[in-house]
Amino acid sequence: MPDPAGATPATDPGSPMLAIRGLQAWYGESHVLHGVDVDVRPGEVVTLLGRNGAGKSTTLKAVMGIVPRRSGSIRIEGRETIRMRPYRISRCGVAFCPEDRGIYATLSVLENLELPPRVRSGGLGTDAILDLFPNLRERLRSAGTKLSGGEQQMLAIGRILRTGARLLLLDEPTEGLAPSIIHQIGNTIHRLKEQGYTILLVEQNVRFAMTVADRYFVLDQGQVVATHDRLSFERNFDSLMARLGV
């Protein structure tokens, strides 16, 4: 077990980019996460799988600090964030793309794109993001929510690349999209991975997840019930599918 508080965690390949330990979360009276443990190492794509309501999205929201109540430990590049205020957490170098894409109706496409502040150097400029998603270029003045679902998803992923965060949390980026768009999003995730981004992905679309993921955590009733690498995931594919109810 590497010391998560090490001085140069990001450069040590063994030390996790994100270390979640005993994470519990509540929405009001309902106790949603019951001690989640997840590690994500630098440069990895890790996928959270599980049935609806297993706590996948809540885990991502809890990392960002936007659940009403949470406890346990969440270290980002070795820094404990469990007691940080939400707007400080992203400054530790993590960015979040929510399930509903979180495009603001009252902001233009350009304003949506330029909303997240830079948290560290190395973020993409507006032009670089538009090169990545050229469809957005002609629509910069329209309201964010006037875009198609696929374009909104590209905007949602594109805008978190400007922050300079190297750890990206993506919540169901393929949900409700046409196969050609899903293919494009898959390419984008591959490209981000090649560039060394670390990605924690929530995905219902297991076949899509298999094209990008290095490791899998299976959640059930707010707990991690299994972890798999690529190999063991493929070996146990059928029993996993049964378990996930896919």
Binding site: M64, I66, Y87, Y104
Partner: protein
């Protein structure tokens, strides 16, 4: 020359009065709309902050020798600071609760402020001199235009446009709109939403104080000067559409003018007409004239 039997001089005079009142409505309802948009709090104390602005101008003139121009600049800042302290210490504890709590707390602030000033200064009102440069009138031929009233309209409209520009066209404004629409997500992007909320409250009540200073030379500075206005302001915000910036500005000015004309033709009716418009708008467009219906 007459229009419907009303001399044009009287008509224009009432129109001018309507535009001046409308300017106050616009600045005040703009602040109220911004605060409601971001805090989801109905700021019942808005009229009290308007009154506070006028009193800060009056007191700083009497005890510190500050002139009108200094007061026009400083009083909104001072009142904004008081508002931010109030938000930070009290109001923020009520976010997410039933809106009635916010209404009760801000209403209690009205009682405290108005009561306090009534004890200290009585309820009769203190005169505040019109700044020298703006005294007198201009004869436009069809009407006599008091210079100070024209200045009030120009200052109020300028302030409204500046606020609109700040919200709709700047980076701070886009963060503010994002915080209005999705506070949680906006925080997750690293934007300090609690600070934005505090600044918004400060800005909103600062606008009220700005209107208060503008009003000081026209109305006497008195503890209940805000209460008389605030009910109409609520009607303006409801007619314009809760939280709508453009709605608050346009509706504020328009209702001032409607009131002015009503005073010409049937003056007994002029204090009621705003509420009739409100009833009509609520029946026909429940989200207000400029409101977005939640989809």
């Amino acid at each position: 020359m007459d229009i419907f039997g009303v001399p044009i001089q009287a008509m224009m005079g009432q129109l001018m009065l309507g535009i001046v009142n409308g300017s106050f409505y616009a600045v005040l309802s703009l602040g109220l709309a911004i605060i409601f948009g971001v805090l989801k709090i109905v700021n019942f104390a808005h009229g009290a902050f308007f009154m506070l602005g006028a009193f800060v101008a009056f007191l700083s003139g009497r005890y510190l020798g500050l002139d009108y121009w200094a007061a026009l600049f400083l009083a909104p800042l001072i009142v904004a600071c008081i508002g931010m302290a109030f938000e930070y210490l009290f109001l923020r504890r009520l976010y997410g609760l039933d809106p009635i709590y916010g209404l009760l707390l801000t209403f209690s602030l009205v009682l405290v402020l108005e009561g306090g000033f009534r004890v200290a200064f009585g309820s009769s009102g203190q005169p505040y001199p019109t700044p020298e440069a703006l005294r007198g009138t201009i004869n436009l031929g069809f009407m006599i235009l008091p210079i100070y009233r024209a200045f009030v309209v120009v200052a109020a409209v300028t302030m409204c446009l500046a606020t609109w520009y700040m919200i709709e066209r700047t980076r701070l404004g886009s963060s503010l709109r994002a915080a209005t629409e999705r506070p949680d997500l906006t925080q997750a992007f690293g934007i300090n939403v609690p600070l934005l909320v505090t600044l918004t409250y400060g800005g909103g009540v600062g606008l009220a104080a700005f209107a208060g200073v503008l009003a000081a030379p026209i109305f006497h500075v008195n503890p209940s000067m805000g209460s008389n206005l605030v009910i109409i302001i609520f009607a303006v915000v409801v007619i314009g559409g809760l939280g709508s910036i453009v709605g608050a500005i346009v509706t504020g000015l328009a209702l001032g003018i409607v009131e002015g004309f009503t005073r010409v033709f049937y003056s007994e009716f002029s204090s009621t007409v705003v509420f009739l418009v409100m009833v009509a708008v609520l029946l026909l467009r429940p989200a207000g004239l400029f409101g977005r219906t939640e989809g």
